[in-house]
């Protein structure tokens, strides 16, 4: 039968995107969050199955279900045993016993980051894949130096990850030197690796991507990367031992495209060593000790697209140099001491698509400088002093897709200025001054998919306007003014996957009945209301529900567990628990 080698290796390991939306024990990482600059709500991004399962999928599920009946898959074509293996890992059913069936299967990928019960004993089966093995990842305290050393038979390895492996030491790193084909290596969150152990990395001349996030003892070790001129991506976020002197060896790594340095001790002086990185596209210096003076160095980076300088205690001093960073598409300046004075220097950054000014001292007048930034898709103005008058400067930004005005001083009268932003998909108006009248001014924004009115004072009459937003996937109205009558206006928003109507103390079981047709819902919160356990029966139709929060209601954890077991198999998070 043909097709044995037909499977394309299109699912290479990429640490953050491993399994579609399922968060596991070891996937928490802040390193790239700031890049997901729009629509980062966790629930709406999970793709749901809408197609018919293929016969192949059904067979794979069936094999996994009966896994203990199989002694060996080595007679199967490699791509089939690979798919069985991946499904077992994904469904967390891989264990000491059934792993044995994969001995000598010539598997290419063994990504065990989420598996429980790992021991060095597993290494035997892993190394039996020999030179077929291209990618392997491990996580957790059960992986040891001696386990790592046994991988030496897998000379073809291109991708290797030992994240959260606190027992891997410098001694284990020595064995890494032999993997000359490695292009991707990751040792996140390791408290013992030092500069000495990193000497082994100098042999990895094919390394393209290196991730050492949260390794607090690697100071002095980057010197061993000097000759790794193929390196394109280096992540040393949260390595708080890293200082300016560690930047010096990076200046020759001219192929670097992405450099993550957040929460290190780097200052303006350290940044001067980066000037020669003419291919650098992404630089993350969140929470570093830099000032406006580093902008002079950054202006030499003519390929720079993404820059994160949030939480750096930047002031207006020296910030005139921002005008030189005119290649930027994404700029994060949130949580700095900067004021309107800085915005005039952003005026010429015409390629900007995303600008984050969260919690900066920005007022209405400053926004005039943003009026010409026609490419802007994402604008974050939360916790600024921006009010209704400032919004007139935004009304021409026709490409805006996401606007956050929470905790500003914007009032209802300003919102009509937004009515022409027809590309707007996400709008955050979490603010006490916003009322029904403000919502009424926005009914032309029919493309909205996310609307946050958390603290806004919306009443039942205001909910009539919601009927205009047929595409809404997430909605939050928690200002206390809703009754059951208002919830009836939500019942036709058929695309909703997230609904938060907590803190509305008058809602009763009738509200649950009203929304029982919203079968796309994955997350529902009706806390602090008069919901009772008798109302839970109305939720039986919400088969996609993963998260249900009914705190401070007349509902017990047992009531919800019962509902979970009989009708809501997908429910994973619930409160009370």
């Amino acid at each position: 039968m043909g097709g044995a080698c037909s499977r394309k290796r299109d699912q290479q390991v990429d640490e953050d995107s491993q399994h579609n939306g399922v968060s596991g024990r070891y996937c928490k990482s802040g390193s790239s969050k700031w890049l997901a600059y729009s629509f980062s709500r966790s629930f709406s991004d999970i793709k749901r199955r809408t197609t018919t399962p293929s016969l192949m999928e059904l067979c794979i599920y069936k094999v996994c279900e009966d896994i203990n009946k199989y002694n060996s898959f080595s007679m199967l074509p490699r791509d089939l045993s690979q798919q069985i293996f991946d499904e077992l890992v994904y469904s967390r059913r891989l264990n000491d016993v059934n792993l044995e069936a994969f001995r000598d299967c010539a598997l290419q990928d063994m990504n065990l980051g989420e598996c429980e019960g790992f021991s060095d004993f597993w290494m035997d089966v892993i190394t039996s894949q020999g030179s077929s093995l291209l990618s392997a990842s491990f996580a957790g305290p059960d992986v040891t130096d001696s386990g790592l050393s046994r991988l030496k038979d897998c000379q073809s390895l291109q991708t290797l990850a030992f994240n959260y492996c606190e027992r891997i030491s410098d001694h284990g790193l020595e064995h890494i030197a032999g993997f000359s084909n490695l292009s991707t290596l990751s040792f996140r969150r390791n408290n013992v690796i030092t500069a000495q152990g990193m000497a082994a990395l100098s042999h990895l001349i094919n390394l393209v991507k290196l991730d050492l996030e949260r390794c607090p003892k690697i100071h002095g070790g980057l010197v061993h990367l000097k000759g790794l001129t193929k390196l394109e991506s280096l992540n040393i976020n949260c390595c708080n031992c890293i200082t300016d002197s560690d930047m010096r060896p990076l200046q020759g790594l001219v192929n670097l495209k992405a450099l993550q340095l957040s929460s290190t001790k780097i200052t303006d002086y350290g940044v001067t060593f980066l000037r020669a990185l003419h291919k650098l596209e992404l630089l993350n210096m969140e929470c570093c000790l830099v000032t406006g003076a580093c902008l002079e160095s950054l202006s030499a980076l003519r390929a720079l697209l993404y820059l994160n300088l949030s939480r750096c205690n930047l002031t207006d001093d020296g910030c005139d140099k921002f005008s030189k960073l005119d290649t930027l598409k994404v700029l994060n300046l949130g949580f700095n001491e900067i004021s309107d004075a800085i915005l005039v220097h952003l005026k010429g950054l015409i390629y900007l698509e995303s600008l984050n000014l969260d919690s900066c001292k920005i007022h209405d007048d400053g926004l005039v400088n943003l009026a010409g930034l026609n490419q802007l898709k994402f604008l974050q103005l939360s916790d600024t002093e921006v009010g209704s008058n400032g919004l007139r400067h935004l009304s021409g930004l026709r490409n805006l897709e996401s606007l956050n005005l929470s905790f500003t001083v914007v009032t209802d009268v300003g919102l009509k200025r937004l009515s022409g932003l027809s590309n707007l998909k996400s709008l955050n108006l979490d603010s006490r001054q916003i009322t029904d009248a403000g919502l009424g001014a926005l009914t032309s924004l029919t493309g909205l998919t996310h609307l946050d009115l958390f603290g806004a004072r919306i009443t039942d009459s205001g909910t009539n306007y919601l009927k205009c937003f047929k595409n809404l996937r997430s909605l939050e109205i928690c200002g206390g003014g809703l009754t059951d009558a208002g919830v009836k206006n939500i019942k036709d928003l058929a695309s909703l996957t997230l609904l938060n109507i907590s803190q509305n103390g008058h809602l009763t079981d009738k509200s649950l009945e009203a929304i029982s047709g919203l079968t796309e819902l994955m997350s529902l919160n009706v806390s602090n209301s008069r919901i009772t356990s008798a109302g839970l029966k109305h939720l039986k139709s919400l088969k996609n529900l993963k998260s249900l929060t009914l705190e401070a209601c007349k509902v017990t954890a047992n009531d919800i567990k019962k509902l979970q077991s009989t009708d809501l198999p997908n429910l994973v998070n619930f409160r009370p628990e």
């Binding site: 039968m1 043909g2 018919t52 399962p53 192949m56 059904l58 067979c59 094999v63 009946k69 791509d79």
Partner: protein
Amino acid sequence: MAEPSQSKIKKEEMVKLISAEGFEFVISKKAAMVSQTIRNMLTSPGSFAETEHGEVTFPEISTTILEKICQYFYWSLQYASGKETEFHIEPELTLELMMAANYLHT
């Protein structure tokens, strides 16, 4: 191709799938085309023998497996039209069926 029907009730277009042992399964073309491989055989331009006669021989698929596959084709159509039942697979057939599914892009 099937003969154009003379009867009043328009007959569905049928195809014939032949197993390794020579057993013939006559099923609707629509069902057979659930398989990407069969679809390509039946629809690709240039006259493949399969296109012309509406017949496909599978020298490497046993009768038992081919029968199961035909069942899947009809199940799949039903499922797609909203009737979401379970498709039962006998444990002893699973691996062989899986290899066939791989070949048939199903």
